[in-house]
């Protein structure tokens, strides 16, 4: 008796030799407005065309309520996973974020990268701020030394130098308090302006 293998026949039918099924994201949408369909295709086919089955969608840009929306047909994903289709890294990352799979190690790598970038940004801004403050203090010192220099010629030396030293100490103390405030402002501005996920 010939066994009834028709139900496995669809799996054997390959459009080209060495074809593998793959679950990946196909980018639709418009310019500067991506929208991804999560899709089962053969691995050598063009990214958006000749789809075998659509499993879901992913909208990367936040909507009116500030959410990114993802929809997946978990039954069919389970079916394809059972039958050994390849899942690309972004799809696996999404599934991990959602909780259906364990969290992908690459998301942790990304998280570390982002925190590192944030810290670097903060450091840069700190340095810049300190430099600016130094310049300002240098300027003040120069101005006052010019003024005191003029006055020295007219009056005695001791009286004129004391106010300048007091001002210097005051500026150093206020530096420390103002640094944090000014830094936080500039950091937020930099975050908003940056293209990276910071």
């Amino acid at each position: 008796m010939i066994p009834d293998l028709k139900k496995f026949a669809y799996r054997k039918m390959k459009p080209y030799p060495g074809a593998k099924l793959v679950v990946r994201m196909a980018r639709y949408g418009c310019t500067n407005r991506p929208f991804y369909q999560i899709v089962v295709t053969w691995n050598r086919y063009p990214r958006d065309r000749k789809i075998k089955e659509q499993l879901g969608f992913y909208d990367r840009l936040p909507n009116l309520t500030g959410e990114q929306v993802l929809g997946l047909n978990l039954d069919r994903i389970r079916h394809h996973f059972k039958h050994g289709t390849e899942f690309t890294r972004p799809v696996l990352q999404l599934l991990g974020i959602v909780g259906y799979f364990p969290i992908h190690p690459y998301t942790l790598v990304e998280a570390k990268r982002i925190t590192r970038r944030r810290e670097e940004l903060e450091q840069k801004l700190k340095e810049k701020y300190l430099e600016e403050k130094e310049e300002e203090t240098d300027k003040i010192v120069q101005d006052e030394s010019d003024q005191s220099g003029e006055e020295v010629k007219s009056e005695s030396v001791d009286i004129d130098h004391s106010p300048s030293t007091d001002n210097q100490t005051k500026t150093v103390k206020s530096d420390v308090t103002n640094l944090e405030e000014a830094l936080s402002e500039s950091i937020t501005i930099a975050k908003k302006a940056s293209v990276l996920k910071i």
Partner: protein, 370 residues
């Protein structure tokens, strides 16, 4: 006059109004501050009561079927050409039976009276190490219901991953939005339109478009949504104030309104209205329903059997009912009953019963379509 209708609009609404009480209110144009809005009791669970067979049949009988009104109420963009046909009597009966059955099936889709739904959201996992990656919340919905045969909205999985990295089941609002994105219902918008804002609602109600507004509300919200309850309560209170129950009679909202009124102990106005229009069989059914809802057994108690609709039982029921009413209302009700008795109760009852039998006969006729 303090109402903001133009002259033509005023005349239009005046003609549409079904009872003298509301006409007087419109003429006066004064906001009636004596009206106390009804309060829904919290100890009775209304949904299982509503869904009982006996209750549903009573509500069906009370609404009746009014084909003219539904033909007027249909919102059609283009007027259809009238189709004229010459048809033998049997065929005519069958066609009428088809329309009756269609109407009855529409009326049976009445929005149930339920309590507001509860907020369900619980944490599933905590992963703060992912937090830097999540710039926005990720709203996830499982669309596997497309491949399964049937799945109620409550079973659908909607899950949110926060910006802090916590995975939690979504709040009810997020669920509604996600389900509408993945499984859209025709006519429903994801963000509620300005139609349901109080000013615009009031505008529509002033022009007596009660069932139109109620249909839209039913499309937009589920019956246990708190917004649905608020808006329907507003509309029912508006109708109660003006005693305009006839506007909903024949539509699918009459039953839920009658149920709501008897729950809040405000069924008196409806009973009066029915007595005025000489619908005595309806009165008897409605009083039976009222007694059932407020019996101490609640949903476990069974509906009293429909005794024959005749003068004796009517007087009995009215006597039982009037024990609860006091003062001015009692005098009013007694006057009504006396006038009816003088006018000839048995004939009126016969008329009502014959109407009901007509409807039943049409519904029982075998047709090909329904």
């Amino acid at each position: 006059m303090s109402c903001n209708l133009s002259k033509a609009a005023f005349l239009q609404t005046f003609r549409k109004l079904s009872c003298v009480h509301s006409q007087l209110l419109l003429l006066r144009g004064v906001h009636v501050s004596q009206f106390k809005p009804p309060v829904v009791p919290t100890d009775i669970d209304p949904f299982p009561l509503f869904m009982e067979e006996g209750v549903q049949t009573i509500l069906n009988d009370i609404t009746g079927i009014d084909l003219k009104k539904t033909a007027l109420l249909q919102p059609k963009k283009l007027p259809l050409k009238p189709v004229l046909r010459a048809v033998p009597d049997k065929e005519l009966k069958r066609l009428q039976a088809d329309s009756f059955k269609k109407e009855r099936s529409k009326i049976e889709q009445r929005p149930p009276f339920m309590r507001a739904r509860k907020e369900i959201s619980r944490e599933l996992a905590r992963n703060p190490e992912i937090a830097p990656v999540m710039t926005n919340n990720l709203l996830f919905i499982d669309t596997s219901a497309f491949t399964r045969s049937e799945r109620a909205n409550k079973d659908k999985v909607v899950v949110v991953r926060d910006t802090e990295g916590t995975l939690r089941t979504a709040t009810q609002e997020e669920r509604d939005r996600a389900i509408q994105i993945a499984f859209p219902v025709r006519g429903r918008t994801i963000f509620p339109s300005s139609f349901f804002k109080p000013e615009n609602l009031h505008n529509a109600l002033q022009r007596c478009r009660y069932s139109y507004v109620l249909d839209k509300v039913c499309v937009q919200y589920d019956p246990d949504h708190p917004e649905f309850l608020r808006i329907t309560k507003e509309i029912y209170d508006y109708i109660l104030e003006r005693m305009e129950f006839d506007a909903l009679r024949g539509t699918r909202h009459f039953g839920s309104m009658a149920f709501y009124l008897s729950l809040c102990h405000r069924e008196y106005e409806l009973v009066l209205d029915m007595l005025e229009r000489k619908l005595i069989v309806d009165v008897m059914d409605y009083i039976r329903l009222h007694r059932k809802i407020h019996s101490q057994e609640g949903s476990k108690g069974s509906l009293s059997k429909p005794l024959g609709y005749d003068k004796k039982n009517f007087e009995k029921l009215m006597g039982l009912y009037m024990k609860r009413i006091t003062g001015n209302r009692k005098k009013q009700a007694e006057k009504m009953v006396e006038s009816l008795l003088e006018a000839g109760l048995p004939e009126i009852i016969k008329e009502n019963l014959s109407q009901r039998e007509l409807i039943d006969s049409y519904l029982k006729l075998e047709t090909n379509v329904y």
